[in-house]
Amino acid sequence: MTIRLIGYAFSGPVLRVIICLKELGLPYELEPPASYQSLKDEDYIANKHPFGKMPVLFDGGFRITESRPICRYLVSKYQGKHNDTILIPNDVHNAGLVDQFISYELSYYDPPISKLFYQEKVAKRFLNEDPDPEIIKQAREELAKVLDVYEKLLEGKEYLNGEYSLADLVHCPSTYYVYGIVTTHSGLWDSRPNVKNWWNRVYNRDVIKKSLEESKSFWENNENI
């Protein structure tokens, strides 16, 4: 039975799972919801996601929500079964460090990026709000400090934990949305050589480049959802 993924392919968290599925060589069916409104329907909340969010993954009769847990589930069940890609190492120390870097993404990297993307793309389009220059300024400063830390973390390393892992993967959607779609702030990455090389290396993985570029057309072409 094929894996079913509920969500819009252009949504960051859904994209995170799509990249993971593809990295592991897993076939899946994408089921976009009828509308954003339908996520708040009683049926969706009872049978898909109690907080009315996406993505939701069904693997046979098993249901799981929240993009990073979904990725962890896919890795623990399917890693090594369809191809050789290792996203979480078996060694307990290295796995612990991958987990630590995933926590950095959640705690420090994603918050300022989310603010920037919200202000630059989402606010106007979905909520008819004008971008707030003060929030943009403050988010840029916060992101610059985070990227200074990443610049040191990546010294002498190609990926966050040395070898490519789930930790690098989880950074993809949010990085691409600001770096590759909004583009105004891409200098924050490009002015830091280790960070620039890291992102280019991650982005140029076949699976990642293709998945991210497919989402770009939504943000560039469609005015309304």
Binding site: P50, T65, A95, G96, I102
Partner: protein, 211 residues
């Protein structure tokens, strides 16, 4: 060599790790941070936590930081030596524990942290309490707890059996009960109250908060 835990002894993030150490019966030394400057030095940033934060765990030469990552590491290395199961072996059950950990991070912790900041930490810093933020955060937390009330139907714990997902909620919930006037937000919901009461009956909880 004993495990060393560096952190602010009473902070919820440090206590999250202490709870796991106590649940699994792992001996450790707590290196209590008393001044914030000690974790902002170049040496600390290079060797312990690049963002200048605590807790940090040193297990021999292995250094790991971020409280939830530390907890997962301790479980994957030491749970087999303990009778307590915090993280099931079965891949489906383990994934649901991860899902509930994500609910804690995404929907429980953010509004609760705002309330605690305004009512406790802001005061310590001499900042005024922003009542509008408290009100809005309590409303957001109420909506989350309404959903938890449904999730806990016919269950004592989020994933049926006690797990790391339940434990992660405990440190901030403890502060609400002990240091704010908002315990009714939990106690007015029978299943949420039952769940938190059970968590606070555990020996590891009593040991952690006796110190």
């Amino acid at each position: 060599m004993a495990i060393k835990l560096i952190g602010f002894a009473q902070s919820p993030t440090t206590r999250r790790v202490v709870l796991v150490l106590n649940e699994l019966g792992i001996p450790y030394e707590l290196e209590s941070v008393t001044e914030i400057q000690t974790i902002k030095t170049e040496e600390f940033i290079t060797k312990k936590h690049p963002f200048g934060k605590v807790p940090v765990l040193c297990d021999g030469d292995h250094v790991v930081n971020e409280s939830r990552a530390i907890c997962r590491y301790l479980v994957s290395k030491y749970q087999k030596d303990s009778k307590t199961v915090l993280y099931p072996d079965d891949v489906h059950k383990a994934s649901l524990v991860e899902q509930y950990i994500s609910y804690e991070l995404s929907y429980f912790d953010p509004p609760l942290s705002k309330v605690l900041y305004q009512e406790i930490y802001a005061k310590r810093r001499g900042e005024p309490t922003d009542e509008a933020v408290v009100k809005q955060s309590l409303e957001e937390l109420s909506k989350t707890l309404d959903i938890y009330e449904k999730i806990l139907k016919d269950k004592d714990y989020l994933n049926g059996e006690y797990s790391l997902a339940d434990l992660f909620h405990l440190p901030c919930a403890h502060i609400v009960y002990n240091a704010t006037g908002h315990s009714d937000i939990f106690d007015s919901r029978p299943r949420v109250k039952n769940w938190l009461d059970k968590l606070r009956e555990r020996d590891a909880y009593k040991k952690t908060y006796a110190e």
